[in-house]
């Protein structure tokens, strides 16, 4: 998951294609996109934390630039629908285990070299090879031979022992057939694999990448997307310009894009109001209060929901939270609608399902304990034998979680009579360190933004034993079994059905509490006549028209 550090951990999510409504004012000004072709726009950005290497970028600041600089095998449509082929000509499989991938011929990298099958295979092998230390290495774990190139440290990174050298530097499951064809063999059938291919970890890398250090490449990245890299002045701006040899669907309409790197969103907002900035993807809270942003921006204000959900997770390693009835009682005692209205001014929607309903394969409204029912909550608490001691809800205090976490604790206190309160831990890093070490002493906030649009991404990482974000250590063998079957199903439809069964069991166990679905409030300048947001709520710069 990509994560925005400033908004701490919940990053922007995304969703619907949203067509900005600027057309009403722009219709009769005679522009008609005529001044787009050599136009320039300035959009909001955040200094990337790492050099721009796709497999080593997990935060939104850099991720956004990478999404513009690269085009993957598949792309996720702006309307949140199923992925479509982009660089791929076809992706074929009969058993969800062996995939034959054919790519479009003669698409180009920004340095003029042709994108060939080996550019994908080499890039993936580089990312998976453990001595390269790529943050996204685990995305390749499905591929046969991953265990040979990626060796875990036997006693963890803090232990005295060093990780063993990998026994191979290439995954045996990747085979280049010719310039335009390659074959991927997975360790086990995975129906969702083609969907994953649009995530930035799977982008191709040009030959130039392999002849220099990754850091140096990342300072002057060469991609294959609709814009190419011009310059990067740290903490000031990243400049991009249209790639004229781009032959795929989403060509740029404007020419130059400057991503201005801000530290403070209020500064960016003031720039937007005075016309120095053309697009801001998340309006600061100060402007959301009292709907100030709507009166400031008028029809240039854009409101959308995103496939990101805020949860409260339970630490299963703490005996006090092992009774499902207690967890259900807590869930039913929370009035999500009130939190959404009073604290978020309606910009976030009360959660009522396990996977975010914007995700393909997710069923809306399948969380039976997400409603507010104080009477039933009390009864369940009595059946669970009450709760002894203090229930502390934890959050990271370096971002705006205090208000809603306080509200949750207060509701639990009022409706269940449990001695509950919320406590902030100083920073996201301190908070996550405790979560990762399984040392939480009470329920804690969590958030999840999908990496790729499929319900699989909402079940395997969160509710399956050993899942990458199942930090509460929830485990139900039956859920694990169903999720495994679902992942290995021969088709996506069959897979979604099985996942629905797994989620029904999750709904009985209540391992965490979905609280709200994120919304995103953005705005653009008067200069932009038309634009769309992509499936994660960032500006789709290829759709911008002036």
């Amino acid at each position: 998951m990509r994560v925005s550090k400033r908004a701490s951990a919940v990053a922007l999510g995304a969703a619907f294609a949203l067509i900005a409504s600027g057309c009403s004012s722009g219709g009769n000004e005679g522009g008609e996109g005529g001044n787009s072709s050599d136009g320039a726009v300035t959009i909001h950005g955040v200094q990337p934390e790492n050099p721009l290497v796709p497999a080593n970028t997990t935060e939104t600041g850099g991720g956004k630039i990478i999404d513009d600089l690269w085009t993957g095998l598949v792309e996720y449509p702006n309307n949140g629908g199923a992925p479509q082929n982009a660089v791929a000509e076809s992706i074929e499989t009969t058993d969800s285990k062996v995939f034959k991938i054919k790519i479009k011929e003669n698409t180009k990298f920004h340095d003029g070299t042709v994108v060939k099958a080996k550019n994908f295979v080499d890039a993936w092998n580089w990312a998976a090879y453990s001595p390269n230390g790529a943050q996204n290495a685990s995305f390749f774990a499905d591929i046969d031979g991953f265990a040979d190139v990626n060796k875990e440290d036997p006693d963890g990174p803090d232990g005295p022992q060093k990780a063993p050298e990998p026994t191979a530097d290439k995954m045996s499951g990747l085979k280049v057939v010719d310039d335009w064809n390659f074959e991927v063999t997975l360790a086990a059938p995975t129906a969702v694999f083609p969907t994953k291919l649009g995530y930035s970890a799977f982008m191709p890398l040009p030959d130039a990448f392999f002849s220099q250090k990754a850091e140096d490449f990342g300072k002057k990245p060469i991609g294959n997307g609709p814009v190419k890299f011009v310059s990067w002045e740290d903490d000031v701006a990243i400049k991009l310009t249209r790639f004229d040899d781009y032959s795929l669907r989403d060509k740029m309409k404007v020419k130059d894009v400057t991503v201005k790197l801000y530290q403070d969103e209020n500064a960016a907002y003031n720039d937007l109001l005075s016309g120095n900035l053309d697009f801001l993807e998340s309006i600061p809270v100060s402007a959301l209060a009292g709907d100030k942003w709507k009166s400031d921006l008028g029809d240039r204000a854009m409101n959308t929901t995103t496939p990101t959900t805020a949860f409260i997770a339970f630490p299963f390693y703490d005996k006090r939270f092992q009774n499902p009835k207690l967890r259900k009682a807590v869930s039913l005692a929370i009035d999500r609608q009130e939190i959404s209205d009073k604290i978020f001014f309606g910009t976030r929607k009360p959660a009522d399902s396990w996977a975010n309903p914007l995700t393909p394969g997710a069923k809306p409204g399948n969380c039976t304990v997400c409603k507010f029912d104080a009477a039933q909550a009390k009864q369940l608490l009595t059946e669970a034998g009450g709760f002894q001691g203090e229930m502390v809800f934890y959050y990271n205090a370096d971002s705006s979680h205090k208000e809603w976490m306080d509200a949750v604790a207060q509701q639990v206190k009022t409706n269940l009579g449990i001695n509950a309160r919320a406590e902030g831990m100083p920073t996201f890093a301190v908070f996550r360190a405790a979560v990762n070490a399984h040392k939480m002493k009470g329920p804690y906030r969590a958030a999840w933004q999908q990496d790729y649009p499929d319900v699989e991404n909402w079940v395997n990482p969160l509710f399956v034993k050993g899942g990458s974000s199942n930090d509460g250590l929830y485990s139900n063998p039956e859920v694990d079994r169903l999720a495994k079957e679902a992942s290995g199903a021969p088709s996506l439809e069959a897979s979604h059905e099985k996942f629905a069964e797994a989620v029904a069991l999750v709904d009985q166990d209540v391992p965490s509490l979905p609280i709200y679905f994120y919304g995103l409030q953005s705005g653009h300048s008067e200069k932009i006549k038309k634009m769309e947001l992509n499936n994660v709520g960032e500006a789709d710069i290829t759709t911008i028209e002036l």
Binding site: M1, V3, K5, A9, P48, E49, N50, P51, T58, E59, S130, P131, N132, G133, A134, Q135, A137, S138, N150, K151, E152, D153, G156, P157, D158, A163, E215, G218, K219, E233, D234, D235, V236, A237, Y262, Q263, D264, N266, A267, A268, N270, D271, L273, S274, N276, D398, P426, T427, F428, A429, V430, F431, R432, A433, N436, W448, P461, S468, S469, D471
Partner: protein, 308 residues
């Protein structure tokens, strides 16, 4: 004078080593693991953590890390950030920006603050005196971010006189507003200190003598009175340059200036000891040298002060 200077310069060495070690140790002991929050709501892969730990020697004890850092520092290498960015580059780009901002702020506070101080000190209890007293009280009472946001909104958004944020070229015209905001509180103090100092010295024997001697009033004030009254003001201004540079975090954030305040703030959050210490090292040097300069200026201003 020469020996005094040498002694002062030698004193800088232990102060320098002491402060750098303290800062290094403080940042190092901030709780939290630099990679715990790096990959969002999931753990970073162990292979990534192992790779970074080894690359930045994070598994070594703090004094070994510090020794390595100092060794590189003496060779002019401040190290690199976790992102691979060279800290030398960061310092080279962000320090001039902050320095420019601080100098503009210093200029504004010296001119306005001193002007207001001299005028009110000479004519006490008049309308102007009361106006300055009230307005300085107002400035001191307001937190700096309130002044920043309000002026930015008024001048930048509402009236459109200036751009709300400063561009990367750091033009002088763009820096006037942030400079005023940054210097506003010190400006108020300087006005008050100058006023008191002038008012006190106004009754001094030497002023009476000068007037009795028949010197024109302009010379009495400009040469005799002002020079003697400037000592507390110069102390304030000199140490203020350091304070302005270190205290620019809020102003830099509001006006989008790529200066050291912003760099230090981010580095503390991400536990990048090397970056924090490197920036502060330069800041410590600025402080120490400004202090020295102020002490030397005393002698120039007041002939009664001599250094042996």
């Amino acid at each position: 004078m020469g020996r005094y200077l040498l002694r002062r310069l030698l004193q800088l060495v232990p102060v320098f080593i002491g402060t750098t070690f303290m800062i290094y140790w403080l940042v190092w002991s901030v709780p939290g693991d630099p990679f715990a929050g790096k990959c969002g709501e999931r753990r970073c892969p162990d292979t990534y953590i192992a790779f970074m730990t080894e690359k930045y020697q994070l598994d070594q004890p703090v004094w070994v890390q510090y020794a390595t850092y100092m060794k590189n520092l003496l060779q002019g290498d401040f190290g690199t950030k976790f992102s691979g960015q060279s800290i030398n580059d960061i310092i080279l780009t962000s320090y001039p920006n902050t320095l420019k901002l601080a100098l503009v702020a210093l200029g504004i506070e010296a001119v306005i603050g001193l002007g207001a101080g001299v005028l009110t000190g000479l004519r006490r209890n008049g309308f102007l005196d009361n106006l300055v007293l009230i307005s300085t009280l107002f400035l001191i009472a307001l937190p700096i971010f309130v002044i920043g946001f309000v002026t930015q909104w008024l001048f930048g958004v509402k009236w459109g006189i200036v751009t709300p944020t400063v561009s990367s070229e750091m033009r002088f015209s763009e820096l006037i507003l942030p400079g005023f905001v940054l210097g506003s509180v010190s400006m108020a103090y300087i006005a008050r200190v100058a006023r008191t100092s002038i008012a006190e010295n106004r009754r001094g024997d030497y002023v009476r003598t000068a007037i009795a001697k028949g010197l024109p009033m302009r010379r009495v004030v400009g040469v005799h009175l002002l020079r003697n009254s400037l000592i507390p003001v110069v102390t304030l201004l000199g140490t203020d340059l350091g304070a302005l540079m270190g205290g620019a975090i809020v102003t830099e954030g509001i006006f989008g200036i790529n200066g050291i305040g912003r760099q230090v703030y981010r580095a503390i959050l991400t536990k990048e000891s090397a970056t924090v210490v490197s920036i502060v090292v330069v800041l410590v040097l600025v402080y120490l040298l400004m202090n020295l300069l102020v002490d030397l200026l005393y002698a120039a201003l007041d002939p009664r002060i001599r250094y042996e």
